[in-house]
C-alpha cells in the first residue's frame, strides 16, 4: 500500500518534471539548440541514409518492372525514328557531296571563264610505278582531242595524249616524261618544268637564266611557248632553290598546286 503510494508519487513528480521540461524546451528558440541537433544528425543520418537507399531501391525496382512494357514500346518507337533520321541523314550527305562537286565545277568554270571547258572526272590511274597517266571519262563524243590542256581547280594537270570515244588519256605534269615550258610570274623569266621519277609530288625547274633572281614562294605559270599549254595557267610555287657550283646547273623544286594523289574533278580546255 505504502509502496504503491510511493510509486504513484514518483510517477506524478516525473510527469511534472517532463511537463516542465516540455514547456521549457518549447519556449526555447531552436537555433540555440542547433549543436544538439547536429549531434543527433551525425548519429542518425548515416543510418537513415542506409534505409532510405534501400527503400528507394525497392521502389525503383517496382517502377522498373512496371515501366518495362512502356519502355519497350518507347524503345521500338525511338529505334524506328532513329533509322528514319539516319536514312534522311544519308540522303542529305549524298546531296551535300553532289552539291560540293557541282560547286567545284562551277568554281572551275568561273575561274577559267575565258576558256571553253568540258568537265570530267578521273576514272583510272596508271598501275605502273614509273609513269602516272590518268584516264578521264570524256572522249571524242564530247569533243575532246589530243593535245588539249587539262586543268583542275587549283592549276594545271596535264595534256591529253590519246583519246577514244568515251575516254581520254592524260599525261600529267609530274610524269617523268613530261616537260612544261613555264615562267615565273613576278619576274617573267622563262624556265622548263620537268616531272621526276624520284618524287611524284614535285617538279624540277631547270634551264633557269643565269641572271634570274628566284625567290622561294614565287608563283610559276605556263608560258604559252611550246604549243600545247595556253599561257597563264597556274602550275605551282617554288619550294626550294638548289644552287650548284656552276650557276648554269642550278635548279629549283616546284610544288605543284594540284594534289595529284587526290585529283578527281578536272576540266578539259577546248579552245587554245
Amino acid at each position: 500500500m505504502n509502496r504503491n503510494k510511493q510509486t504513484e508519487f514518483l510517477g506524478v513528480i516525473i510527469t511534472i518534471v517532463i511537463l516542465i521540461l516540455l514547456i521549457f524546451l518549447s519556449n526555447v528558440q531552436v537555433d540555440k539548440l542547433s549543436y544538439l541537433e547536429s549531434v543527433v544528425n551525425t548519429v542518425v543520418t548515416p543510418v537513415q541514409r542506409f534505409f532510405t537507399d534501400i527503400k528507394n531501391k525497392i521502389q525503383g525496382n517496382q517502377a522498373y518492372f512496371a515501366d518495362m512494357e512502356a519502355l519497350k514500346a518507347e524503345n521500338e518507337e525511338l529505334k524506328r525514328t532513329n533509322s528514319e533520321l539516319e536514312t534522311q541523314l544519308r540522303e542529305l550527305e549524298v546531296i551535300k557531296a553532289d552539291n560540293a562537286t557541282l560547286q567545284e565545277y562551277m568554281n572551275l568554270t568561273q575561274k577559267y571563264a575565258e576558256y571553253q571547258t568540258i568537265p570530267a572526272y578521273v576514272i583510272n590511274k596508271d598501275v605502273s610505278n614509273y609513269s602516272s597517266n590518268l584516264i578521264i571519262n570524256v572522249g571524242t563524243n564530247d569533243g575532246v582531242q589530243t593535245n588539249m590542256t587539262v586543268i583542275a581547280d587549283k592549276g594545271l594537270v596535264g595534256h591529253i595524249i590519246s583519246v577514244t570515244e568515251k575516254t581520254a588519256k592524260v599525261q600529267v605534269i609530274i610524269d617523268a616524261a613530261s616537260t612544261v615550258s613555264a615562267k615565273i610570274t613576278t619576274t617573267d623569266e622563262s624556265i622548263i618544268c620537268k616531272g621526276t621519277l624520284e618524287n611524284n609530288q614535285i617538279l624540277r625547274a631547270s634551264y633557269i637564266p643565269t641572271g634570274a633572281e628566284l625567290i622561294q614562294g614565287d608563283n610559276v605559270s605556263t608560258s604559252g611557248l611550246g604549243g600545247i599549254y595556253p599561257q597563264g595557267i597556274h602550275i605551282g610555287t617554288i619550294k626550294e632553290i638548289i644552287t650548284t657550283s656552276n650557276i648554269i646547273d642550278r635548279y629549283a623544286i616546284i610544288e605543284p598546286a594540284v594534289d595529284f594523289s587526290k585529283v578527281s574533278n578536272v576540266l578539259v580546255v577546248k579552245n587554245q
Binding site: N133, Q171, T196
Partner: protein
Amino acid sequence: MKKIGIGILFFIIFFIIYFLEANIFPFLTINGVLPNLFIIFILFIGLFANTAYGVFFGAICGLILDLIYGKSIGISAVMFCIVGYLGSYFDKNFSKENKITIILMVVGSTIIFEAGYYLLSSIIIDFKLEWLAFFKILIVEVVYNVLLSIILYPIIQKAGYSVDRIFKKNNVLTRYF
C-alpha cells in the same frame, strides 16, 4: 579443247589481276610503290604452260595494258613476251618443286621486265634517265613481288601442276632422267 578452256581462264584471271592492280593495290602500296602481279602471272604461264602460250599471253596482256595506260603502244607487250619466254626457259633449266627457285625466278623476271621497260620507254619517249630513283623503286617492287609470290605460292603450286598435266602429258617424268 582443254587448252582453249585454260586460255579463256587465263584471260579471266588477267582481268581479275587488272582490277586488283587498279582498285585494290593503290591502297596497299609500300612506300608508294605498287607490286606487279602481271609479271608473276605471265611468268606462271610460261613456266607451267608452254612457250607459245607464255609469249602469246605476254603479248596480248602487254598490248591491253599499253592500250589502257601506255604513252606508246608495244613497250610492255614486248617486255611481257620476254617474261613469257623466260618462264619457259626457266622451266626447261630449273626445277619448279622448290619455293626458293620460284622466288628467284620472280626476282629475275621482275628486274628484267622493269629495267627493259624503263630503258625502252626512255628511248622511245625520250626522257632523262634517273637510275638512282629507278633502282629505289625497283628494289621495293621486287620485295613486294617476292612477298606476294610467297603468299600465293600454294595457289601457284596447285594450279601450276594441274596446268602442267594438261600441257606436258608425256614428258613430265622423262624430263628429269
